[in-house]
């Protein structure tokens, strides 16, 4: 077991290293970068002092060096002008656009992203699993048909559209302020009780919006999986033993039908981050989605690179979690892994 985790950790590290190279070179592919673009702009405007500052930044971040050296410095495998200072050392670089360190810009957005998306994740499972169980055990009933239709609607409605509609009515009926994750008055304030309460009330709509598509998809898949498992002979065995229906259902077919979802955790995490970009934009949520979009557009390389690495890290971590949970959940995998 420990051997398995160690092996996985080594693979994870190698994967992340590979991804970091990919991310960096893809960001560098388009000609120019944020600073050279800026310098051209400044030169055109005749601002010599600013040009000098930008050129200083270029030297400071080694942007005048070959790309592979820039990469190694960014990761922290090679000393830059300020010694070893890269991702490995915890220095996430400088955001040229905001003219502040990436860590500072991203700061709150990072964990707010996690909060919003974890809330959506919990919502998806809490809502989808009971509905799917009902739908599978009452196949072809009226309730099943209603759920199915609602599921298709949920799948088909674009998240941002729903976001707009909900924002409008939430404000009209419940007086919830539009957009954001907390009231405007809390911006920049330290986190206290009032701000957290404000966050919680603002979380409801984004959770619903981000989670709905996922919920519909999960109901469909869970229902199909469960129907397959319900037809398996061991379900009949459980009934023949005299188990009460609910207990038999939860212990045997339901547990079997969980496997594909556990295996999917690794995909789910990054999808929630990148999948909620549109919704975040529409609802002006202070999450990393809009930041990433902006950074990519303006070639703010360290900012974009860091966010992409964050998503990659989330994926790899999710894979590890799902593998470990599968090993714990399924003895067939456990025996194979030992």
């Amino acid at each position: 077991m420990i051997g398995l985790v160690l092996r996985r950790l080594v693979t994870m590290a190698l994967t992340l290293l590979f991804i970091s190279a990919l991310v960096f070179f893809v960001i560098k592919l388009p000609p120019g970068d944020f600073l050279t673009n800026r310098i051209m702009e400044l030169r055109a405007g005749g601002e010599a002092a600013s040009v000098a500052k930008a050129e200083l930044l270029i030297r400071q971040y080694g942007l005048d060096r070959p790309v592979w050296q820039q990469y190694l410095m960014w990761v922290g495998l090679m000393p830059g002008p300020a010694g070893f200072s890269g991702l490995l050392q915890g220095d996430w670089g400088w955001s040229f656009e905001y003219d502040r360190p990436v860590a500072e810009v991203v700061g709150d957005a990072l964990w707010l992203t996690l909060v919003v998306n974890l809330a959506a994740l919990v919502f998806v499972h809490v809502v989808a699993i009971p509905i799917a169980i009902y739908s599978a055990t009452h196949r072809h009933s009226l309730g099943d048909a209603v759920v199915t239709v609602l599921g298709y609607v949920g799948l088909a409605v674009p998240g941002f559209l729903l976001a707009l509609i909900l924002l409008f009515y939430a404000n009209r009926w419940f007086g919830l302020s539009i957009g954001g994750l907390y009231d405007a008055q809390f911006t920049g304030k330290p986190w206290d009780g009032a701000k957290i309460r404000s966050l919680l009330s603002h979380l409801v709509v984004p959770t619903l919006v981000i989670g709905l598509g996922g919920t519909a998809a999960m109901i469909r898949r869970m229902r199909a999986n469960l129907l397959d498992e319900l037809a398996k002979p061991y379900t009949v065995t459980a009934r023949a033993k005299g188990l009460p229906p609910t207990r038999a259902l939860l212990k045997y077919p339901f547990r079997m039908s969980l496997n594909p979802f556990v295996a999917d955790i690794g995909n789910l995490l990054p999808h929630l981050v990148s999948g909620s970009v549109l919704v975040s934009l529409v609802m002006s949520l202070p999450t990393v989605g809009p930041l990433l979009l902006e950074a990519l557009r303006s070639q703010d390389q360290f900012m974009a690179g860091f966010i992409l690495m964050f998503v990659a890290g989330l994926t790899v971590f999710g894979m590890l979690v799902s593998d470990l949970v599968l090993v714990w959940l399924d003895p067939r995998i456990r025996m194979g892994a030992r």
Partner: protein, 618 residues
């Protein structure tokens, strides 16, 4: 009811009266049981016999009230210990109390009937914990007892194993332990041994008989195997299309079958006491257009020679630093198949017979040894053929699969299935289509079948399509891997006769692989018996069945339940694992990794002896 007066005196354990079960289908209600009546007495076994679709499994499910959702009891009574359980709510507390406690069931597929995610101990003990107040500890102790009772070698360890770690026989023992842990009054066994090897089957049957003697439970044994009926049943009931056509004490029913269906069934299964050249009589005759026998010089040499092939599989090591585990699947196997003849390869699961058949087809490469095929142009090593020669070999050697449900692509029409091999081998489309019609007629199917899809056909019809596909390229050699073991007993005879007729007409050579000795006996000219990857005995068919020399062959033969009442199984003789070479008596005993040598004891009859004898001879 007619019989009243002494009702209480001889009141049967289970009494089904005029039971009707109907399925809701898209085409309207379909009645699966039309008024079935039967009794199971305490301490006795009633065998319920019938082909698939006759309603036997529906009867079992109705008794436990675990019918599929689409089915419902529409009439009649199921009196169990005097209570009409047909009127109880299927999942209500009263019915749940009976299930698993007073009435228990075991199923055909011990693998899929146990959950792979829970330990054997957990699943068996659960029956106890549902019905009694037993604590986890007590349940564990009683589960251990139950496992010991059904013959687990190490019950303590078995508690914490998962079903997929056990052999098929042990899994079925675990199912039985689960069923009998609360000492039910009635055990419903739905084809309990159909998925098992013949020796394992005999052991499970012996176990059921022993448990019945000890606990006095009534058994409703559902089977299509008349050999099992002859050896297990006290009473027999024959079901045909949802109706009881015959019932009574075993000896009466089996010796003088009154109904034509049972008489037909008795003649449709291969038996050991068949006369030389006797043909099976299929229950429903098929009209196959067998082409006239081909004339032509018989081939000179054997069409297939397997020369000393070995195959070792490597199991993935658990930890990186462990040496990989090697499993020797096939060790130095040699076979000779004369042209136009049939060679039978017999053995239990895991004996390596399927691996050999795959190496003949070049689906697996042997570690050593040669497979030489000779279609008249001189012997060639199949595993050294170049691409063009291999392409030609693919047309000359074809495979018929065991499972006709899984081996036909459900998305291809029969025409596509039959034409595909011909198109691959470059036959013009018009010719291929004409040949497809011919092939269908050859296997006894109508030309309308061409545009239909596999799901429209029964198992037997699908197997015909599989055979037609195999014949499409006019092969010389057919490898038949358990060609009838997935089929209903009522159509086995049709398929076996068809294969025999096609062989005679087309001059085909067959390599038939099976664990069913009666099928091999009916089909093969010479037989090779495999155990643990080695051939232990080979002989002409008659010699092998008349005078089996090797203890393993004898064990296999002794374990076959014969439908004739005059040859009962000797349950005492089938206990223990007969496939372990270290436990064979001298001179057959082989030390671990010892190869031994084949010794000819009669012309063409060779048996593997261990070194013990060699020393004495020398």
């Amino acid at each position: 009811m007619v019989e009243c007066g002494d009702e209480d005196f001889v009141s049967p354990l289970l009494s089904i009266r005029d039971l009707r079960v109907a399925f809701r289908t898209e085409a309207g209600p379909f009645e699966a049981l039309h008024g079935l009546s039967l009794d199971v007495a305490r301490g006795r076994t009633l065998a319920l016999v019938g082909e698939s679709g006759s309603g036997k499994s529906v009867t079992a499910q109705a008794i436990l009230r675990i019918l599929p959702r689409a089915a419902a009891i529409t009439g009649g009574q199921i009196l169990f210990e005097g209570q009409d359980i047909a009127r109880l709510p299927a999942d209500g507390p009263a019915m749940r109390d009976l299930r698993g406690q007073r009435v228990a069931m075991i199923f055909q597929e011990p693998m899929t009937c146990l959950s792979p995610l829970h330990t054997v101990g957990d699943q068996i003990g659960e029956a106890l914990r549902v019905h009694t107040e037993a604590s986890r500890k007590e349940a564990r102790a009683r589960t251990r007892e139950a496992l010991a009772h059904v013959g687990f070698p190490d019950p303590e360890r078995a508690l914490d194993t998962y079903p997929f770690e056990l052999s098929g026989g042990l899994r079925q023992r675990a199912m039985i332990a689960m069923a009998i842990i609360l000492r039910p009054a009635l055990l419903v066994a739905d084809e309990p041994t159909t998925a098992l090897d013949v020796t394992t089957q005999a052991q499970i049957l012996a176990l059921l008989a022993r448990l019945q003697e000890e606990t006095g439970m009534g058994i409703l044994l559902i089977t299509h195997d008349l050999g099992v009926v002859a050896n297990m049943a006290h009473d027999v009931a024959v079901l045909y299309r949802g109706r009881l056509v015959e019932a009574g004490p075993r000896d009466v029913v089996m010796r003088a079958p009154g109904h034509a269906y049972l008489r037909a069934l008795l003649h449709a299964v291969p038996r050991f006491d068949m006369a030389e050249g006797e043909r099976l009589t299929p229950i429903r005759a098929a009209r196959a257009a067998i082409p006239p026998a081909r004339s032509g010089a018989p081939d000179a040499g054997p069409i297939l020679r397997v020369e000393g092939v070995s195959k070792t599989f490597t199991l993935r090591a658990g930890r990186a630093w462990d040496p990989p585990r090697l499993v020797r699947a096939v060790a130095d196997v040699s076979l000779t198949l004369p042209a136009g003849k049939t060679l039978g390869l017999v053995g239990e699961s895991g004996s390596g017979k399927t691996t050999v058949s795959k190496m003949v087809m070049r689906a697996l490469a042997p570690d050593s040894g040669r497979v030489r095929f000779d279609a008249g142009a001189g012997p060639r090593d199949v595993h050294r053929l170049g691409p063009a020669e291999l392409f030609a070999y693919r047309g000359q050697a074809q495979f018929v699969f065991q499972d006709p449900y899984a081996s036909l692509d459900p998305r291809m029409s029969v025409r596509q299935i039959l034409c595909e091999p011909m198109e691959i081998h470059g036959l013009p489309r018009a010719q291929a289509r004409a040949r497809a019609r011919e092939l269908l007629a050859m296997v006894g199917l109508e030309a309308e079948a061409l545009s239909r899809f596999p799901h429209a056909f029964s198992g037997g019809q699908r197997q015909r399509i599989g055979i037609a596909r195999a014949l499409a390229l006019e092969p010389r050699l057919l490898v038949l891997d358990e060609p009838v073991s997935a089929l209903d007993v009522s159509v086995q005879a049709q398929i076996l006769n068809l294969l025999k007729d096609l062989q005679a007409a087309l001059g085909l050579s067959y390599l038939i692989v099976s664990h069913n000795l009666a099928v091999i006996d009916y089909m093969a000219d010479t037989i090779s018996v495999m155990a643990r990857g080695r051939i232990v005995e080979e002989a002409p068919r008659a010699a092998l069945f008349r005078g089996p020399a090797h203890p393993y062959t004898r064990a296999l033969l002794a374990a076959v339940p014969d439908p004739s009442l005059d040859h009962p199984l000797d349950f005492a003789a089938v206990t223990g694992d007969q496939s372990d070479p270290a436990r064979w008596p001298s001179p057959f005993r082989l030390a671990p990794d010892e190869a031994g040598a084949m010794v000819e004891i009669a012309p063409g009859h060779r048996v593997r002896h261990g070194a013990a004898l060699d020393r004495r001879v020398a």
